[in-house]
Amino acid sequence: MNWKHKDLLDLDILTAEEIKHILKTAAPMKEILARPNKKLPTLRGKSVVMLFYENSTRTRTSFETAAKILGADTSNIAVAQSSVSKGETLLDTAKTLQAMKVDLVVIRHGSSGVAGFLADELSAGVINGGDGQHAHPTQALLDFFTMQERLGELQGKKIVIVGDVLHSRVVRSNVLGLKKLGAEVVLVGPPTLLPSEMNYLGVKTSYDLDKELPGADAVMALRLQLERQQSGLFPSIREYSRLYGLSLERLKQTGKDTIIMHPGPMNRGVEITSDLADSVQSVIEEQVTNGVAVRMALIYLLIGGTGSVVD
């Protein structure tokens, strides 16, 4: 398969075949991660810039590690210390990056659509490292890779995603991709965090976790953004934990060797109990490792050739 995209903004524009191609490319990348010597000459001379307007040590380090293993040069723009804090617009930042002839930009931003804006302005590739409540495609891809490793083909598999669906960009990208791969997806959460409009994604929604667990092949807990607790979207953390928190005991209802996932960072004792997070069913650490492999695959696919691709 020939890769024809300049950017990765979300999973909606990718075909099932393209998603599978990324996952297939990530498999040999994971083998490299297990080596004592992890440095490759593949992207020698290429430059990758991390433009993170939101804090995210995990995602940024994952991208940076991936690019460095492939031999690319990486730079970090710490927005707080950059000209952005002096009032530089995103368009000007884009023009500066263009003038520096960078090959790839990874952007994270609090506003939805910023990655798309940057991609339109730059001839370099752009990877969306999370934009507002819109999308987080690389997190979704690493989730698929992890599920596929444990469950095999995702066609027909039941995936339950529980938590703050309303604010989650991870959910949107996951649903878009999982549907393409033929999985059955159920979104679960309290009514205030799972409005009925979420049905637009074309998946089942439910407010009752216990009812949805039987038959689930994977259950993904979303981070409960504790800062939003103050805004009254749910009565108390204790109640949330009782109704939607995952525990070893509750997971028995699936009747299967279900895998447990979490995009991190976890609130232990809130959306997931510690014994479950550290159990053999948990693939949470594996997700982090796979994140580097999947990002290596994407960086390779986006800038591994001459870059004369069309989006």
Binding site: A27, P28, E31, I32, N37, K46, L70, G305
Partner: protein, 181 residues
């Protein structure tokens, strides 16, 4: 097929005999199987390495370790090509330190694949020796690399293509010389 079939330079029997001879030569040169490991370069180097492993097991009663090497990430032309090659897994589930590595490929041409394979191997460990076995040496080297074991030397013009077909990858057993289109 990239060109028009021109003439067949090896048939199934010829390939089988070449593999047997190479296997004998490997044993002779290294005085047995001590510290020997085989590494097949994907794609067609892999079935060839498997066959050498089988022959050596028949001759000596010893099963020597076999690894698979994908050299895509070590290519020196990646930044000049439009469409990057598809990656496959490298599987070398044993240590290369102190081993005599027999690198196996189907055709030796410019030497650039072997150069990439040497880089990849040295990232995996520190073998005591690396030797190269190829089914066909067609000349036109661009780097100072030569094979230790050659199934058949085939003088070619640069306008020609050597196509190796193996049962495992192509469903037939033959080596063709073709004219580029």
């Amino acid at each position: 097929m990239e060109g028009t079939p021109k003439n067949r330079i090896m048939d199934a029997d010829g390939i089988r005999r070449a593999i047997s001879r190479i296997s004998h030569e490997i044993l002779e040169k290294n005085q047995g199987t001590k510290d020997l490991v085989l590494i097949g370069i994907r794609t067609r180097g892999v079935p060839l390495a498997e066959r050498i492993k089988e022959r050596i097991a028949e001759f000596e009663g010893v099963s020597i370790p076999l690894g698979l090497l994908d050299i895509t990430l070590y290519r020196d032309d990646l930044s000049t090509i439009d469409i990057q090659p598809v990656l496959h897994e490298t599987k070398v589930p044993f240590s290369l330190d102190g081993k005599i590595v027999i690198l196996v490929d189907d055709v030796l041409f410019t030497g650039r694949t072997v150069r990439a394979a040497l880089d990849a191997l040295l990232d995996l460990g520190r073998p005591s020796k690396i030797q190269l076995a190829v089914l066909v040496d067609r000349g036109h080297r661009e780097l100072p690399i030569r094979a230790d074991y050659v199934g058949k030397n085939v003088p070619t013009s640069s306008r020609e293509i050597v196509s190796v077909c193996l049962e495992e990858t192509d469903g037939s057993e033959e080596v063709f010389l073709q004219e580029k289109k």
